[in-house]
Protein backbone atom coordinates (compact mmCIF):
# COMPACT_ATOMS: atom_id res chain seq x y z
CA UNK A 1 0.00 0.00 0.00
CA UNK A 2 1.32 3.46 -0.87
CA UNK A 3 1.50 6.20 1.72
CA UNK A 4 -0.92 8.43 -0.20
CA UNK A 5 -3.63 5.76 -0.07
CA UNK A 6 -2.69 4.91 3.52
CA UNK A 7 -3.17 8.54 4.65
CA UNK A 8 -6.66 8.61 3.18
CA UNK A 9 -7.46 5.35 4.94
CA UNK A 10 -6.05 6.68 8.21
CA UNK A 11 -8.62 9.49 8.06
CA UNK A 12 -11.39 6.96 7.48
CA UNK A 13 -10.09 4.82 10.33
CA UNK A 14 -10.06 7.78 12.73
CA UNK A 15 -13.68 8.52 11.76
CA UNK A 16 -14.59 4.82 12.14
CA UNK A 17 -15.64 4.68 8.51
CA UNK A 18 -12.99 2.28 7.24
CA UNK A 19 -14.25 -1.10 6.03
CA UNK A 20 -13.13 -3.91 8.36
CA UNK A 21 -11.37 -5.73 5.52
CA UNK A 22 -9.05 -2.77 4.91
CA UNK A 23 -8.12 -2.15 8.55
CA UNK A 24 -5.77 -5.13 8.65
CA UNK A 25 -3.95 -4.03 5.47
CA UNK A 26 -3.60 -0.53 6.86
CA UNK A 27 -2.23 -1.83 10.15
CA UNK A 28 0.32 -3.88 8.23
CA UNK A 29 1.43 -0.73 6.37
CA UNK A 30 1.59 1.29 9.59
CA UNK A 31 3.79 -1.30 11.24
CA UNK A 32 6.45 -0.67 8.59
CA UNK A 33 5.99 3.04 7.81
CA UNK A 34 7.04 5.57 10.49
CA UNK A 35 5.85 8.54 8.40
CA UNK A 36 2.30 7.16 8.28
CA UNK A 37 2.45 6.33 11.99
CA UNK A 38 3.38 9.98 12.68
CA UNK A 39 0.46 11.02 10.43
CA UNK A 40 -1.86 8.82 12.49
CA UNK A 41 -0.59 10.38 15.75
CA UNK A 42 -1.19 13.87 14.37
CA UNK A 43 -4.67 12.83 13.33
CA UNK A 44 -5.42 11.58 16.84
CA UNK A 45 -4.26 14.90 18.36
CA UNK A 46 -6.42 16.86 15.93
CA UNK A 47 -9.40 14.66 16.63
CA UNK A 48 -8.95 15.16 20.38
CA UNK A 49 -8.84 18.91 19.89
CA UNK A 50 -11.96 18.95 17.73
CA UNK A 51 -13.89 16.73 20.12
CA UNK A 52 -12.90 18.85 23.12
CA UNK A 53 -14.74 21.94 21.82
CA UNK A 54 -17.11 23.25 24.50
CA UNK A 55 -20.78 22.93 23.70
CA UNK A 56 -22.52 26.25 24.13
CA UNK A 57 -26.14 26.40 25.21
CA UNK A 58 -28.48 27.95 22.68
CA UNK A 59 -30.49 30.74 24.38
CA UNK A 60 -34.19 29.87 24.28
CA UNK A 61 -35.24 33.50 23.80
CA UNK A 62 -33.39 33.57 20.45
CA UNK A 63 -35.83 31.09 18.95
CA UNK A 64 -38.80 33.30 19.89
CA UNK A 65 -37.01 36.42 18.70
CA UNK A 66 -36.36 34.87 15.28
CA UNK A 67 -39.99 33.73 14.95
CA UNK A 68 -41.17 37.21 15.94
CA UNK A 69 -38.95 38.82 13.31
CA UNK A 70 -40.20 36.48 10.58
CA UNK A 71 -43.82 37.28 11.54
CA UNK A 72 -42.98 41.00 11.38
CA UNK A 73 -41.37 40.44 7.99
CA UNK A 74 -44.59 38.82 6.71
CA UNK A 75 -46.73 41.68 8.05
CA UNK A 76 -44.50 44.27 6.40
CA UNK A 77 -44.66 42.45 3.05
CA UNK A 78 -48.46 42.29 3.28
CA UNK A 79 -48.67 46.04 4.03
CA UNK A 80 -46.33 46.75 1.13
CA UNK A 81 -48.51 44.71 -1.24
CA UNK A 82 -51.69 46.53 -0.11
CA UNK A 83 -49.97 49.92 -0.46
CA UNK A 84 -48.73 49.01 -3.93
CA UNK A 85 -52.23 47.96 -5.04
CA UNK A 86 -53.81 51.13 -3.57
CA UNK A 87 -51.39 53.25 -5.60
CA UNK A 88 -51.43 51.26 -8.82
CA UNK A 89 -55.18 50.74 -9.28
CA UNK A 90 -56.14 54.47 -9.14
CA UNK A 91 -53.23 55.28 -11.47
CA UNK A 92 -54.49 52.70 -13.98
CA UNK A 93 -58.05 54.03 -13.69
CA UNK A 94 -56.83 57.57 -14.38
CA UNK A 95 -54.95 56.37 -17.47
CA UNK A 96 -58.02 54.52 -18.78
CA UNK A 97 -60.18 57.58 -18.10
CA UNK A 98 -57.73 59.84 -19.93
CA UNK A 99 -57.73 57.64 -23.03
CA UNK A 100 -61.53 57.32 -23.00
CA UNK A 101 -62.23 61.04 -22.58
CA UNK A 102 -59.48 61.94 -25.04
CA UNK A 103 -60.91 59.57 -27.60
CA UNK A 104 -64.44 60.94 -27.20
CA UNK A 105 -63.26 64.56 -27.48
CA UNK A 106 -61.19 63.75 -30.52
CA UNK A 107 -64.10 62.05 -32.24
CA UNK A 108 -66.37 65.05 -31.56
CA UNK A 109 -63.76 67.47 -32.94
CA UNK A 110 -63.24 65.49 -36.15
CA UNK A 111 -66.92 64.99 -36.86
CA UNK A 112 -67.70 68.81 -36.95
CA UNK A 113 -64.96 69.57 -39.54
CA UNK A 114 -66.08 69.16 -43.23
CA UNK A 115 -63.19 69.91 -45.69
CA UNK A 116 -65.14 69.30 -49.04
CA UNK A 117 -68.88 69.56 -49.96
CA UNK A 118 -70.59 66.24 -50.25
CA UNK A 119 -72.44 66.86 -53.70
CA UNK A 120 -71.65 69.54 -56.41
CA UNK A 121 -74.71 71.91 -56.23
CA UNK A 122 -74.01 74.13 -59.38
CA UNK A 123 -72.10 74.10 -62.65
CA UNK A 124 -68.61 75.48 -62.56
CA UNK A 125 -69.74 78.66 -64.47
CA UNK A 126 -72.56 79.27 -62.01
CA UNK A 127 -70.11 78.89 -59.17
CA UNK A 128 -67.75 81.39 -60.77
CA UNK A 129 -70.66 83.77 -61.39
CA UNK A 130 -71.50 83.69 -57.77
CA UNK A 131 -68.04 85.03 -57.19
CA UNK A 132 -68.68 87.82 -59.71
CA UNK A 133 -66.91 86.41 -62.69
CA UNK A 134 -68.45 85.41 -66.01
CA UNK A 135 -67.08 82.71 -68.16
CA UNK A 136 -66.49 83.11 -71.89
CA UNK A 137 -68.35 79.88 -72.45
CA UNK A 138 -71.57 81.33 -71.02
CA UNK A 139 -71.94 84.13 -73.67
CA UNK A 140 -72.48 82.66 -77.12
CA UNK A 141 -71.52 85.94 -78.81
CA UNK A 142 -68.21 86.07 -77.14
CA UNK A 143 -67.42 82.38 -77.60
CA UNK A 144 -67.31 82.68 -81.43
CA UNK A 145 -69.05 79.44 -82.12
CA UNK A 146 -72.11 78.62 -84.22
CA UNK A 147 -75.11 77.72 -82.20
CA UNK A 148 -77.71 75.74 -83.93
Amino acid sequence: MRCRAAKRQIELKLDRELEPGRIRKLDQHLSSCPACRAYLDEGLKLQKLLQAQPRAEFPAWLHHQIMEKTARHDRQRKQYKIRWRLQTIPALLVLILMFTVGGLLGKAAFSSFVPFPETPSATPSQELASFGEVSLLDDPNLAGGVHE
Binding site: R8, E11, L12, D15, E17, E42, G43, K45, L46, Q47, L49, L50, Q51, A52, Q53, P54, R55, A56, F58, P59, L62, H63, Q65, I66, M67, K69, T70, H73, D74
Partner: protein, 165 residues
Amino acid sequence: MKKEQFEAFLKANEKRIYHYLLTLVANDNDANDIVQMVFISFYEHIDRVEEATAVAYLYRIAYNKSMTFLKQKNRYVSLDPHSFSRLPDRSAPEPEPDHSALHQALRELPPKLASVIHLQYYEKLSYKEIAKKLGITVKAVESLLVRAKKQLRKKLLREMQGKGV
Protein backbone atom coordinates in the same frame (compact mmCIF):
# COMPACT_ATOMS: atom_id res chain seq x y z
CA MET B 1 -39.29 24.89 0.91
CA LYS B 2 -42.48 26.40 2.25
CA LYS B 3 -42.84 29.07 4.92
CA GLU B 4 -44.87 26.64 7.04
CA GLN B 5 -41.78 24.40 7.30
CA PHE B 6 -39.59 27.19 8.64
CA GLU B 7 -40.23 26.75 12.36
CA ALA B 8 -39.47 23.04 12.31
CA PHE B 9 -36.34 23.75 10.26
CA LEU B 10 -35.29 26.46 12.72
CA LYS B 11 -35.75 24.13 15.68
CA ALA B 12 -33.68 21.42 13.98
CA ASN B 13 -30.78 23.70 13.00
CA GLU B 14 -30.59 26.64 15.41
CA LYS B 15 -28.16 24.97 17.82
CA ARG B 16 -25.75 23.78 15.16
CA ILE B 17 -25.63 27.14 13.39
CA TYR B 18 -25.25 28.95 16.71
CA HIS B 19 -22.32 26.74 17.64
CA TYR B 20 -20.79 27.19 14.20
CA LEU B 21 -21.08 30.96 14.55
CA LEU B 22 -19.46 30.80 17.98
CA THR B 23 -16.45 29.11 16.43
CA LEU B 24 -16.29 31.89 13.83
CA VAL B 25 -16.82 34.94 16.03
CA ALA B 26 -15.83 33.60 19.48
CA ASN B 27 -18.30 35.95 21.14
CA ASP B 28 -21.78 35.21 22.57
CA ASN B 29 -23.30 38.62 21.81
CA ASP B 30 -22.08 38.68 18.23
CA ALA B 31 -23.23 35.11 17.66
CA ASN B 32 -26.70 36.05 19.02
CA ASP B 33 -26.97 38.92 16.53
CA ILE B 34 -25.64 36.99 13.58
CA VAL B 35 -27.78 33.89 14.11
CA GLN B 36 -30.88 36.10 13.84
CA MET B 37 -29.58 37.70 10.63
CA VAL B 38 -28.82 34.26 9.20
CA PHE B 39 -32.27 32.82 9.80
CA ILE B 40 -34.10 35.97 8.67
CA SER B 41 -32.06 35.97 5.46
CA PHE B 42 -32.89 32.29 4.98
CA TYR B 43 -36.60 33.00 5.58
CA GLU B 44 -36.63 35.80 2.98
CA HIS B 45 -35.47 33.34 0.29
CA ILE B 46 -37.17 30.21 1.59
CA ASP B 47 -39.33 29.83 -1.53
CA ARG B 48 -36.19 29.38 -3.64
CA VAL B 49 -34.46 26.89 -1.31
CA GLU B 50 -34.48 23.16 -2.03
CA GLU B 51 -35.02 20.95 0.99
CA ALA B 52 -32.11 18.66 0.12
CA THR B 53 -29.53 21.46 0.18
CA ALA B 54 -31.14 23.74 2.78
CA VAL B 55 -28.59 22.97 5.52
CA ALA B 56 -25.62 23.57 3.20
CA TYR B 57 -27.22 26.86 2.13
CA LEU B 58 -27.69 27.81 5.77
CA TYR B 59 -24.00 27.22 6.54
CA ARG B 60 -23.06 29.39 3.55
CA ILE B 61 -25.29 32.23 4.76
CA ALA B 62 -23.85 31.85 8.28
CA TYR B 63 -20.29 32.09 6.99
CA ASN B 64 -21.00 35.11 4.76
CA LYS B 65 -22.93 36.99 7.44
CA SER B 66 -20.25 36.39 10.06
CA MET B 67 -17.43 37.51 7.73
CA THR B 68 -19.37 40.70 6.86
CA PHE B 69 -20.10 41.26 10.54
CA LEU B 70 -16.46 40.83 11.54
CA LYS B 71 -15.25 43.17 8.77
CA GLN B 72 -17.71 45.86 9.85
CA LYS B 73 -16.87 45.37 13.48
CA ASN B 74 -13.13 45.72 12.82
CA ARG B 75 -13.74 48.79 10.65
CA TYR B 76 -15.88 50.39 13.35
CA VAL B 77 -13.39 49.84 16.12
CA SER B 78 -10.44 51.07 14.05
CA LEU B 79 -12.20 54.34 13.13
CA ASP B 80 -12.88 55.38 16.71
CA PRO B 81 -10.31 53.92 19.04
CA HIS B 82 -10.17 56.65 21.68
CA SER B 83 -13.81 56.74 22.79
CA PHE B 84 -13.95 53.02 23.25
CA SER B 85 -10.56 52.43 24.80
CA ARG B 86 -11.78 53.14 28.34
CA LEU B 87 -14.94 51.07 28.10
CA PRO B 88 -14.66 47.60 29.59
CA ASP B 89 -14.76 45.06 26.79
CA ARG B 90 -17.50 42.74 28.01
CA SER B 91 -17.76 41.12 24.63
CA ALA B 92 -14.25 39.69 24.85
CA PRO B 93 -14.35 35.97 25.55
CA GLU B 94 -12.60 34.26 28.40
CA PRO B 95 -9.05 33.48 27.33
CA GLU B 96 -8.96 29.90 26.09
CA PRO B 97 -5.63 29.44 24.36
CA ASP B 98 -6.38 25.96 23.03
CA HIS B 99 -9.75 26.80 21.51
CA SER B 100 -8.79 30.22 20.21
CA ALA B 101 -6.27 28.60 17.87
CA LEU B 102 -8.90 26.06 16.82
CA HIS B 103 -11.49 28.77 16.26
CA GLN B 104 -9.03 30.77 14.21
CA ALA B 105 -8.26 27.72 12.08
CA LEU B 106 -11.98 26.92 11.65
CA ARG B 107 -12.67 30.55 10.74
CA GLU B 108 -10.20 30.28 7.90
CA LEU B 109 -11.89 27.20 6.47
CA PRO B 110 -14.29 27.79 3.57
CA PRO B 111 -17.93 27.19 4.61
CA LYS B 112 -18.20 23.89 2.76
CA LEU B 113 -15.25 22.39 4.66
CA ALA B 114 -16.25 23.94 7.97
CA SER B 115 -19.76 22.54 7.69
CA VAL B 116 -18.59 18.92 7.32
CA ILE B 117 -16.13 19.29 10.23
CA HIS B 118 -18.86 20.83 12.33
CA LEU B 119 -21.40 18.14 11.49
CA GLN B 120 -18.91 15.39 12.24
CA TYR B 121 -17.40 16.65 15.48
CA TYR B 122 -20.21 18.71 16.92
CA GLU B 123 -23.18 16.68 15.74
CA LYS B 124 -21.27 13.39 15.72
CA LEU B 125 -22.92 12.35 12.45
CA SER B 126 -21.71 9.55 10.22
CA TYR B 127 -20.57 10.18 6.63
CA LYS B 128 -23.90 8.93 5.36
CA GLU B 129 -25.85 11.27 7.64
CA ILE B 130 -23.66 14.22 6.72
CA ALA B 131 -24.16 13.45 3.02
CA LYS B 132 -27.93 13.39 3.50
CA LYS B 133 -27.91 16.64 5.49
CA LEU B 134 -25.89 18.52 2.89
CA GLY B 135 -27.43 16.91 -0.19
CA ILE B 136 -24.11 15.49 -1.47
CA THR B 137 -22.62 12.00 -1.93
CA VAL B 138 -20.69 10.04 0.70
CA LYS B 139 -17.57 10.22 -1.48
CA ALA B 140 -17.92 14.01 -1.56
CA VAL B 141 -18.15 14.07 2.26
CA GLU B 142 -15.00 11.94 2.44
CA SER B 143 -13.09 14.28 0.12
CA LEU B 144 -14.26 17.38 1.95
CA LEU B 145 -13.23 15.95 5.33
CA VAL B 146 -9.81 14.95 4.05
CA ARG B 147 -9.26 18.47 2.66
CA ALA B 148 -10.57 20.12 5.83
CA LYS B 149 -8.39 18.06 8.13
CA LYS B 150 -5.36 18.66 5.90
CA GLN B 151 -5.82 22.41 6.34
CA LEU B 152 -6.45 22.11 10.06
CA ARG B 153 -3.41 19.91 10.54
CA LYS B 154 -1.20 22.49 8.84
CA LYS B 155 -2.49 25.36 10.96
CA LEU B 156 -3.14 23.76 14.32
CA LEU B 157 -0.45 21.17 14.62
CA ARG B 158 2.24 23.58 13.47
CA GLU B 159 1.21 25.86 16.30
CA MET B 160 1.10 22.99 18.75
CA GLN B 161 4.58 21.91 17.72
CA GLY B 162 5.73 25.48 18.20
CA LYS B 163 4.38 25.45 21.73
CA GLY B 164 5.95 22.08 22.42
CA VAL B 165 2.68 20.14 22.78
